[in-house]
């Protein structure tokens, strides 16, 4: 049976799909709705206000946490995305693909609390081992390398985000034809030039999406960050402690809604941009393919 024979069945399936997306989004949308209510959750009257949002920006603790979170997100992105790119190039050329793919995708399957605790204990032991080594040799240079800090949180988050970047970049690389690199090499370009001038422009959409993903994932991550960070607070840890200590205040609703807005706006604009881009590319391709009839 063709799908278009029964157009209503087709529409029904579409509405089911959209209903599922809507259901998944309901809690988030509901939080956004509550965040504009002056009376907070569960009140009988709904009075629109932006007051809660104003309170966020007067909260020094939160602004400090936001700064740390953004820095963490940036550092992780700057390291993890090039690593994922290198790994994807390695994977493409590798003879034995099982080992790299297993290593790079396995973090997806390890639950956050398990990865976090394993790394926490590993880093603590490593730290003690380094201090012991330093004592033996008589230098204190290695002492604080693996104390829980910004560095350990960064390492944990790189491991968490690398599978996502790897997959996104690999998918865009699938559309690239390697003959182009060979052609560039034959014309005398070295490996780096062939990559930067020929291949990168064609896969940059994937690389930039990977960057956006990584930033959002790091920004949103709670478990691994809270286990591996040292003394500093990130956005999610502040949010959690607020939620657990004082319950969901109007302010926590506003904060949740705000970051949700931002994340959805980033991803939404990426989706729209890629759609527009493929649209215009296919229009150009169609124009080129059109026979000249005059």
């Amino acid at each position: 049976m063709n799908d278009y024979d029964n157009i209503w069945l087709h529409k029904l399936k579409w509405s089911y799909l959209l209903l599922v997306v809507l259901t998944l989004m309901t809690p988030v949308i509901y939080v956004m709705y509550i965040s504009f209510n002056a009376n907070g959750f569960g009140a009988n009257e709904y009075a629109f206000t932006m007051e809660w949002y104003g309170l966020i920006f007067s909260d020094a603790l939160l602004i400090g946490a936001l700064r740390w979170t953004l820095m963490l997100a940036l550092v992780v992105t700057v390291i993890a995305v090039p690593m994922a790119l290198l790994a994807a190039k390695y994977y493409k050329a590798a003879d034995n693909k099982l080992f790299p793919v297993f290593l790079l995708l396995a973090p997806l399957f390890v639950p956050p609390d398990i990865l976090g605790s394993a790394l926490l204990v590993f880093f603590k032991n490593l730290n003690f081992a380094f201090i012991w080594l330093g004592d033996q040799v008589g230098i204190s240079l290695f002492d604080s390398w693996f104390r829980l800090s910004f560095l350990t949180a960064t390492i944990g988050l790189i491991i968490y985000t690398i599978p996502y970047s790897f997959v996104v970049i690999l998918i865009t690389m699938g559309r690239y034809r390697p003959e182009q690199t060979e052609a560039a090499r034959a014309c005398g370009a070295n490996g780096w030039r062939a990559f930067w001038d020929i291949e990168f422009p064609q896969i940059q959409a994937g690389v930039f999406s990977a960057c956006a993903f990584t930033i959002i994932l790091v920004f949103n991550e709670y478990t691994r960050t809270s286990l591996l960070k040292g003394g500093f607070d990130t956005f999610t840890t502040v949010l959690i402690s607020q939620m657990l200590n004082t319950g969901m205040s109007g302010q926590s609703y506003a904060m949740s809604a705000l970051v949700s807005f931002i994340a959805i706006a980033i991803i939404g604009s990426i989706i729209i941009l890629t759609m527009l881009r493929t649209e215009s590319l296919s229009r150009i391709a169609r124009a080129k393919a059109d026979p000249v009839t005059s």
Partner: protein, 305 residues
């Protein structure tokens, strides 16, 4: 290459250039291996070390090298094991619900949506995933609570007389949370898996007069099995390991492996936390190994390479 350039030019500066490029040529393969080395050092080794640390002896605030199976005893001969097995049961229920609701979407996208638009439709399911998990899970409280969105809506519609309290702070709450958190993954992995089911198969089935049920059981399911299995393992293991869900949505007895591990860390019982991690890693490895033997999981990645 380097020797060729050397023969053509004999300027001093250029020799330096060739030396650098020689060095670069030598270093380049290692640059491509760097991510893998990083992953071995900070992912594979720490995960394997959980087994070693789990037999260390517990001290007041930390642990010291030694050999004791006390942490395992602590896990297997206490309420923890019951909780762990219970969380396995509810995790399996979540997997089944996710499959029933999510997999038909993957089939529909592959079968009935034009090729160019397929990826964009699947991207829709990334949208909820982009909102922090803690916000999504916490946001379920006002939705499922006694006076929350679901109960008030149902009461306004006159479908129920008094609020359903079993929706949250119970196993049901955890299952609802797991389904809402992990459903997109069965859509993604199902979508990848359906790559192995060519579109003409649907037409062949129609021509041969095969009904949708038999088509699903005898054709789609065997072909898409690797992807479905990978997605299910993902949901199952995360259902066992994400502490946030039972912590926020669960009631008495809703404790999974992730929660046991984090509670052990809070209680400074590091060997126990490592034992739980080791048990989880063993479970995961065993599942992946069985799946690989049964379906050859590398098939999922064929569309990628």
């Amino acid at each position: 290459m380097a020797s060729l350039t050397n023969k053509r030019t004999d300027g001093g500066t250029l020799t330096v250039g060739t030396q650098t490029s020689q060095l670069l040529e030598m270093l380049a393969p290692w640059a491509f291996r760097a991510p893998l080395i990083f992953m071995v050092l900070f992912f594979a080794i720490p995960m394997a070390m959980t087994v070693v640390f789990s037999v260390f002896e517990r001290t007041m605030f930390w642990m010291e090298p030694g050999f004791t199976l006390f942490a395992y005893e602590n896990f297997f001969f206490s309420a923890r094991l019951v909780n762990f097995l219970n969380s396995m049961k509810y995790s399996l229920i979540s997997v089944a619900i996710c499959f029933v609701f999510g997999f038909p979407i993957a089939v529909f996208v592959r079968k009935s949506i034009p090729q160019v638009a397929q990826h964009r439709v699947v991207l829709l399911f990334i949208l909820p995933f982009m909102v922090s998990e803690i916000i999504r899970v916490f946001a379920l409280r006002p939705v499922l609570q006694r006076n929350g969105l679901v109960n008030t809506t149902l009461m306004d519609l006159g479908l129920i007389d008094e609020p359903i309290t079993a929706l949250i702070y119970s196993h049901t709450g955890v299952v609802i949370g797991e389904v809402l958190s992990f459903l997109p993954f069965i859509v993604f992995s199902g979508f990848l898996a359906m790559e192995a089911v060519p579109k003409f198969i649907f037409e062949v089935c129609d021509d041969l007069g095969v009904g949708p049920w038999r088509r699903f059981l005898d054709v789609i399911l065997p072909l898409a099995a690797p992807g479905i299995f990978a997605g299910s393992v993902f949901i199952f293991v995360n259902g066992l390991g994400v502490a946030l869900l039972p912590n926020i949505l669960g009631g008495a007895g809703a404790v999974n492996a992730g929660l046991i591990a984090t509670q052990a860390i809070t209680a400074l019982d590091f060997p126990l936390a490592m034992a739980v991690s080791a048990i989880m890693m063993t479970t995961l490895m065993a599942l992946l190994w069985i799946g690989h033997r049964l379906f050859d999981l590398t098939k999922i990645l064929t569309p990628l390479s």
